[in-house]
Amino acid sequence: MADINVKINGIPVTVPKGTTVLEAAHKAGIDIPTFCYMKEINEIGACRICMVEINEGRGFRLVASCVYPLAFEGTEILTNSPKVMDSRRKTLELILSTHEKKCLSCVRSGNCELQTLCNEMGIDHEEVYEGEKHVYEIDNSAVHMYRDNNKCILCRRCVAVCSKWQGVGVIGANERGFKTFIGSAFEMGLGETSCVSCGQCIAVCPVGALSEKDYTDTVFQAIADPTKHVIVQTAPAVRAALGEEFGYPIGTNVEGKMVAALRRLGFDDVFDTDWGADLTIMEEATEFIDRFKNGGKLPMMTSCSPGWVKYCEHYFPDLVDHLSSCKSPHQMLGAMAKTYYAEKIGKDPKDIIVVSVMPCTAKKFECQREDQNAAGVPDVDYVLTTRELARMIRRAGLKFTALPDEDFDNPLGISSGAGDIFGVTGGVMEAALRTAYCWLTGKDEVVEFKEIRGTDGIKRSEIDIDGTKIRVAVASGLKNAGELLTRVQNGEEKVDFIEIMACPGGCVNGGGQPQQPASVRNFEDLRVLRAKALYDEDAGKELRLSHMNPDIKKLYEEYLHTAGGHKSHKTLHTSYVKRSIN
């Protein structure tokens, strides 16, 4: 579209016609605060915090900058006039009149978008408008999270991601007017619904209304217990985002400092879930080749993402047989820690605690599933999100930026580049295909599969391995997954192998990752920036094939013997259930 010239606070800016005022202002270096706005999925103009003055030739008036398209040459915009400031302040004062205002005990204190803006706007009185305030019961019915509507500002970002990204839609606005609240049908607790535990709602919540169930205290206690051997492992995507909590630019890989921090927190072993990822590839590639060659259930679908697995059980129960029976990487590592490694160090599995640091809230659900206890005790005891780890580091007073870079412990700490990219959409598929390629051709060369990289919701490819054609599809974001599966179910699409990750862009954008405010989210693609950190790590490694991981080879020699063998099935594979939609 044609460019137009407008003036923002008197400064000329040229933008394509149709650009929103918010985007134009961003281009001019001005941040306009937003609460409800999320590009494409929540353009509802509801919170009114982004009001600016605009003059399109008929005098100045207030409009919502997030959804107001610039259409006329010479339009004048004021983003910080007294009228705008007054509007913004009153909106905040009104929101505060219904808000709980327990900042001191709020998990989001310090990175709450409401708190920050109140501070910026110089709000000096919290009770300008008194009046009726609802008192809501906190919903703690879900395994992975809380909803505290006493803090909710009704921006509806959680509602948008739940239905528009995830196609789940178990939360929404109920009632109307002043009584409006976000919840589930018939006031069901989230745990009673078909919520998949992905945690995307938490990741986008601007305030403390949504938060994961926090296990930091429990883990501190476990560490302090001299009778327990406490192992920690970290998922690939954690190192790509943890730095954001300590001021690093988005996409900085802080693996070395993270390991150092974990060691200083007092964990007995610091292992790498990437090692578990390599192990997963051994089992999953074996399973796929077996199904592909011997007429097993196809397409086979990956099972690393517990949000996706739960989604499949609720929404496509007829397809659970298509799921790979492999446990997810951190559960595999946990299983090996409590069997293979426990034997090695001569510990009773009951005395070993495995803590997984994950970019994910669904893992909190997963570790409590049945059939995830190779040693007769849960493979993984506690799952912490990236955010919880950051909290532990801060609570322990560790100066993260000043920490040295350190390496993971062995023997569950070495990993291939294939394991690293498990944290990105397409990564599991690429890792599996690299190994399958080697096994089918007999050549150990690294082949990259770039057509299944990137942030597209559904990616497809046909791989030709010495004449063997494998049709693969990769989806991230459960709405995309649902679309793909419906097509597969209706026979509109023929695929052999499907990778699905619940979160859009994969684990790097998981529901347990650091919360970035709207001012960042709306203008940066977190998925791309964080993914780059992992692809760079993979590219920089010598070891880029899972089956070439020496410690994995050793594991099979010493303990498991064959991939997909009897012992593997006992320890590394699991089963699924059919669930209903609520």
Binding site: E137, D139, S141, S163, V168, G169, V170, I171, G172, A173, N174, E175, R176, G183, S184, A185, F186, E187, M188, G189, E192, T193, I581, N582
Partner: protein
């Protein structure tokens, strides 16, 4: 947390068959949810979870979305109504002529509040907006019957007709 419906559901197979028929009749209509809910309420008298679940499953719409729609519109009810539903008009014309007092009087006599039903299931009470009988203000309706030019003294007479 408990679910909201506390009255036991007594839907019949015939009602369910009718509901499925209604949904089928609307299957190619993109905006079918509202008419389906309206007709479902005609069949059952209200929209409990059992009914909304059937609609959700058949129309492939998340239950929460349906619940969100149902709780948005005043006309949809999650609870059964009394045998005689009394609706007092609190529209402007009626209000300035004292319908608020009539409404208070009814609450007092029946011992129930807005949207509630007496324990014997006989009367339910609600306030409504203008029903367009402003010339008769203040007005109330008992099911289909309209009573106009009311005073608080006449309220008992009206109720007596349904004893």
């Amino acid at each position: 947390m408990a679910t909201k419906t506390s009255v036991p559901f007594n839907g019949t197979a015939a009602q369910e068959a009718k509901l499925r028929e209604i949904i089928k009749a609307h299957q190619d209509d993109p905006g079918a949810l509202m008419p389906v809910l309206q007709q479902a309420q005609e069949v059952y008298g209200y929209l409990p979870i059992e009914v909304q679940k059937i609609i959700s499953d058949e129309m492939n719409i998340p239950l929460e979305k349906i619940y969100g729609v149902v709780t948005f519109y005043a006309q949809f009810s999650l609870y059964p109504k009394g045998k005689y539903n009394i609706s007092v008009c609190l529209g402007t014309a009626c209000y300035v002529k004292g319908s608020g007092d009539i409404y208070d009087k009814l609450q007092e006599i029946l011992g129930i509040g807005d949207g509630e039903c007496t324990a014997d299931g006989k009367f339910s009470l609600e306030a409504c907006r203008c029903i367009g009988a402003c010339g008769l203000a203040p007005v109330l309706t008992v099911n289909e019957d309209v009573y106009g030019r009311l005073t608080t003294d006449k309220v008992k007479e009206v109720l007596a007709k349904y004893e």
